[in-house]
């Protein structure tokens, strides 16, 4: 497992405390927590694909509270309308004018639960907001707060009553990861332990500090040797017959940003190949589909990593 190498590194303070705190409520998932923090630092959005009840919501809550961010949650259902996400204007008798009631998207951390249960129309309302960082409604453009982080969850496609996200929209998520069942030790601790409420977590840093951190991620050095490596990885996915589509330039940018964020989070101001390898399966996994159109996922991404030499 290539990404294991950097998985044990200590984090840059104060994120080490954030990690420790979240690990206290989301048991046995340090790697996923790191990836979630990476995603946040890279100003990306995270898609968590997993069964209900494995701790997706808890992770979102814990992230929001630890980072001192305001948090909303949208439960996606098949009858959800765009207005339920973005908000709508209501005529107010008192002022004699329409007043905008912002929807739940106007928060710093938005948990979009079971995003694939909603219709494509509702989904696209969310995804456009994610991409633009703003909401345009009735001719008025309203900026979303900063930092803005969408944590969407989706059920596996095999479950009934889901509208799978089209590829173009999957591409808007910087990473996709799955939590998976906890390992036996974590599960036992979970079962034996007291009620772990993420709402009780104290904020470790302020939103301003988070924005500052996001800015310094951009300064992480990406040496030409690593650009070569990134290009080699992307080139490899584009070879005919290997995947349905190769990685897009946007995917390449996402990969670079994620690697930078991972390196920064692990207290390095330059990216090493291991950083790229740590994030690659989660950045590329949902963007790669095998020739039959099935999502390539982790295995495909690992195959790519194993096949491409580090220059």
């Amino acid at each position: 497992m290539t990404a294991a190498a950097t998985a044990g590194e200590p984090l840059r303070p104060p994120f080490d405390r954030v990690l420790a705190q979240i690990e206290g409520v989301v048991l046995g998932k340090p790697r996923q927590i790191r990836l979630a923090l990476t995603c946040l630092l890279a100003r990306g959005h995270l898609l968590i694909e997993d069964l209900p009840g494995v701790g997706k919501t808890t992770l979102a809550h814990a992230l929001a509270h630890s980072l001192g961010l305001e948090f909303t949650r949208i439960q996606f259902t098949s009858d959800l309308l765009p207005g339920d996400i973005l908000g709508f204007s209501v005529f107010e008798q008192a002022s004699g004018a329409f007043r905008f009631h912002p929807g739940p998207i106007f928060a710093q951390v938005v948990l979009a639960d079971e995003i694939n249960r909603a219709t494509p129309k509702a989904q696209s309302a969310l995804l456009e907001a994610m991409d633009e960082g703003q909401v345009s409604l009735e001719g008025v453009t309203r900026r979303l707060p900063e930092p803005f982080f969408v944590l969407a969850t989706q059920n596996p496609f095999t479950q009934a009553g889901v509208y799978p996200l089209p590829e173009s929209q999957l591409d808007r998520f910087l990473m996709r990861l799955s939590l998976g069942y906890p390992d036996p030790a974590a599960e036992r601790a979970l079962l034996a332990g007291e009620n772990r409420r993420p709402q009780a977590l104290a904020p470790v840093l302020t939103p301003a500090e988070l924005i500052e951190a996001q800015a310094s991620v951009d300064l992480v050095r990406l040496a030409p040797a690593l650009l070569d490596y990134l290009q080699a990885l992307i080139e490899h996915t584009r070879a005919p017959g290997r995947f349905l589509h190769g990685l897009s330039p946007r995917a390449g940018l996402a990969l670079a940003r994620s690697a930078r964020a991972w390196a920064w989070l692990h207290d390095r101001d330059y990216v090493v190949p291991e950083d790229v390898q740590a994030v690659f399966p989660f950045v590329a996994g949902h963007r790669l589909q095998d020739a039959e159109g099935m999502s390539g996922g982790d295995a495909a991404a690992q195959a790519v990593l194993a096949a491409v030499a580090i220059p």
């Binding site: 590194e9 330059y270 090493v272």
Partner: protein
């Protein structure tokens, strides 16, 4: 090992190693530990400077040696080099002192000492690889300048070895290089071997200049052994103590019998009672001489003797270029032979040589007053015999009676001929020749002394006839009206063996000089013959390869080569330029590869030899962790190197690159984990 440790290791603060360890490593430069850079690079400057010691004043040699020892001591103890001002003063003092001693910087006398001295001063400031490489480049040049003094085969071999060591030292002073010198010796050897064909091709085909670009000043004309234009009793017997080679001859066909090998040199006709001097007349020979019988063809290779004579067998049939035949039938070069010279000759061993009146008058002249007894004896003969031939017979017959051929004749008084003829009766060839000529002149027969060499020895290895100083000889020439000048060797009457079998056979065994005595041992003789043949080959084919020989070689290859020399030269030049351009281009391509990656490749190669191969898709830190799991003993070194590589390559940190180079130089992992410790473990941990 955890990665955080790996990374922390990169900035590691190792304690400096102890002095003893540094000394040990410096002395033995082995792979064990390298707290100080190896001192091998100090060796080539020393070796390059060493041959100059023979030509430098002793104090200069001493200063150089002291500087070198000082530098070695500083390197071994790891102490800092002298400060800037010390070095500036040293350099200025070197220039001033050489200027004071030699005056000019130009040429061999002043330029070379300055160069050598500055090389050793340069060592004092060579604290970085850049300076050390510079000192090594200078060593090449200093080594090359040895050729201004000595171009012999042994010295060439020595300098070739110096070039080899210098190249190895240069290879060692590279960021990627191993600290151990052995692989660099191999590399340097391969480089030299690879360069040899090119050097050979350049040697053979690079256009030779008809004359050197500049004339080398020759300072050491004095002290060369050889025949001179005067002769006193004892001169030749001193000369024959040297076994230095006078010249070599190669005959078309078998060489003549030793007894016929009278190599004619200076002709001495003026006598002042003690000393024989050259003929007064030194102009071109006017009297006609003609060859009788077949001519001999041979090639002489004359060692430099600083005089113009070219030793011939009899009358030269044709004049080689740049020579003339002067009175007395002496073949002389227009310039003194200051360098080894190869001359092709054709000459008639039998000839008829006439004489001018002036020559005959000179050949009868005797200083008045000296040697009354000899004079009286000759006049007795003269009264008894009218025929000059009979007089000759009488003269030679005199020597056949109780005269002794010896290298150590007793000293002679003022009347040297009288003393010799009537009291000591012990003498060497010059005594016999001198006395014989005196008697003949006193008896009215024109006579003169001819000096030169007699005989020679065929070296069976290369077939050359080798003539040494110990073959020096003096004989007589008398004028017979019906036959011209006739060669008479009075020594042959005393010691026929000298003429037929050489000097060693003619002398009493107790008197054989050591240089000749040793040669009775056959193996020694063979060794010397082989060695001299080798030297001769070197002289003939390497040093003697001139424009003429080059043209002959080229026309031997193809007659068109010489005709199209210009076009060919330009074509070769263009081809050479094309090759160089290609090399530059290919080299540029090779350089694209990152230096850190190249160093890291060495590291992974060493691990691969232990079975720990890095997968192409494996990042350096992941690989380090995997190696560490298999070989925990390598953890510190592997961790350090991997972290440094990551910094050097991906953070593009130049200091990390240097540290990486150092760390990889130190990294020599042992094959077996069972041995417990690893070479790669840093010192002082």
């Amino acid at each position: 090992m955890r990665l955080d440790k790996v990374l922390r290791h990169a900035s590691g603060d190792r304690r400096p190693p102890g002095r003893r360890q540094r000394l040990w490593a410096g002395l033995f430069g082995a792979a064990r530990c390298h707290p100080i850079p190896p001192v091998f690079w100090l060796l080539p400057p020393l070796l390059a400077g060493l041959p100059h010691a023979a030509h430098l004043p002793i104090w200069l040699t001493g200063v150089c040696a002291l500087l070198w020892l000082w530098r070695l001591l500083l390197a071994l103890t790891g102490r800092p080099l002298p400060g800037l001002w010390v070095r500036i003063v040293l350099a200025l003092a070197a220039v001033a002192v050489v200027l004071a001693q030699f005056g000019l910087f130009i040429g061999r006398t002043g330029g070379v000492p300055l160069l050598v001295l500055l090389l050793f001063v340069k060592l004092m400031e060579a604290d970085t690889w850049r300076h050390q490489r510079f000192a090594l480049m200078l060593s090449y040049f200093v080594a090359l300048s040895v050729f201004l003094h000595d171009q012999s085969l042994p010295m060439s071999l020595y300098l070739f070895a110096v070039a080899w060591l210098t190249t190895a030292a240069l290879a060692q002073l590279q960021p990627l290089a191993d600290a151990d010198i052995r692989p660099h010796l191999l590399t340097a050897g391969r480089l030299l071997l690879a360069g040899t064909p090119l050097a050979l091709a350049l040697f053979l085909f690079f256009p030779r200049l008809p004359a050197p670009l500049w004339l080398l000043p020759s300072g050491e004309q004095a002290g060369r052994t050889g025949l001179t234009d005067t002769m006193q009793p004892g001169d030749i017997s001193r000369l024959i103590l040297s076994d230095a080679i006078a010249f070599r001859a190669r005959f078309d066909g078998a060489p003549p019998e030793p007894a016929n090998l009278y190599w004619r040199g200076p002709v001495l006709a003026r006598f002042d009672g003690r000393t024989w001097r050259a003929m007064a007349q030194q102009g071109e020979m006017r009297v006609q001489a003609s060859g009788l019988g077949a001519a001999l063809r041979y090639v002489l290779t004359l060692e430099p003797h600083e005089r113009p004579w070219i030793f011939t067998l009899g009358l030269p049939a044709t004049l080689p270029p740049d020579t003339r035949l002067i009175a007395g039938m002496q073949l002389v070069s227009r310039r003194p032979l200051t360098q080894r010279r190869r001359i092709e000759l054709t000459s008639h061993p039998r000839y008829r040589l006439g004489a001018s009146d002036q020559e005959l008058a000179e050949a009868l002249d005797l200083p008045p007053g000296y040697n009354p007894a000899a004079r009286a004896l000759a006049q007795d003969w003269r009264r008894a015999e009218g025929d000059p031939r009979r007089l000759l017979e009488r003269g030679l017959a005199l020597f056949r009676r109780d005269f002794t051929y010896t290298l150590t004749p007793p000293p002679l008084g003022l009347n040297s001929v009288d003393d010799f003829l009537f009291s000591t009766r012990r003498g060497f060839c010059e005594h016999y020749a001198s006395a014989f000529v005196f008697l003949m002149r006193a008896a009215g027969v024109p006579a003169r002394v001819v000096t030169g060499y007699l005989g020679g020895e065929v070296n069976p290895v290369d077939g050359h006839l080798v003539v040494r100083q110990s073959d020096a000889h003096a004989w007589a020439e008398v004028w017979l009206p019906d036959a011209g000048w006739v060669q008479i060797d009075p020594t042959a009457s005393v010691a026929p063996a000298r003429v037929e079998r050489g000097l060693a056979a003619a002398l009493p065994s107790a008197e054989v000089p050591p240089v000749l005595a040793g040669l009775h041992r056959p193996w020694l003789r063979e060794l010397r013959q082989a060695w001299e043949a080798l030297n001769n080959g070197w002289n003939q084919w390497v040093l003697g390869y001139n424009l003429e020989r080059q043209l002959r070689l080229l026309s031997g290859l193809s007659p068109h080569l010489v005709a199209y020399a210009w076009q060919l030269s330009i074509a070769i030049l263009l081809a050479g330029l094309a090759v160089m351009a290609w090399l530059a281009w290919a080299g540029g391509r090779a350089r694209v590869r990152d230096p850190a990656a190249r160093i890291y490749a060495r590291f992974t190669a060493r691990l691969a030899r232990l079975g720990l191969e890095r997968m192409a898709s494996e990042g350096p830190l992941v690989f380090a962790e995997r190696v560490t799991q298999t070989r925990p003993d390598l953890a510190p070194a592997v961790g350090e190197i991997s972290a440094l590589y990551a910094r050097a390559r991906y953070a593009e940190d130049p200091t990390a690159l240097d540290a990486l180079a150092q760390a990889v130089r130190r990294f020599h992992p042992r094959r077996s984990i069972a041995s417990g410790t690893s070479d790669a473990r840093p010192v002082g941990r």
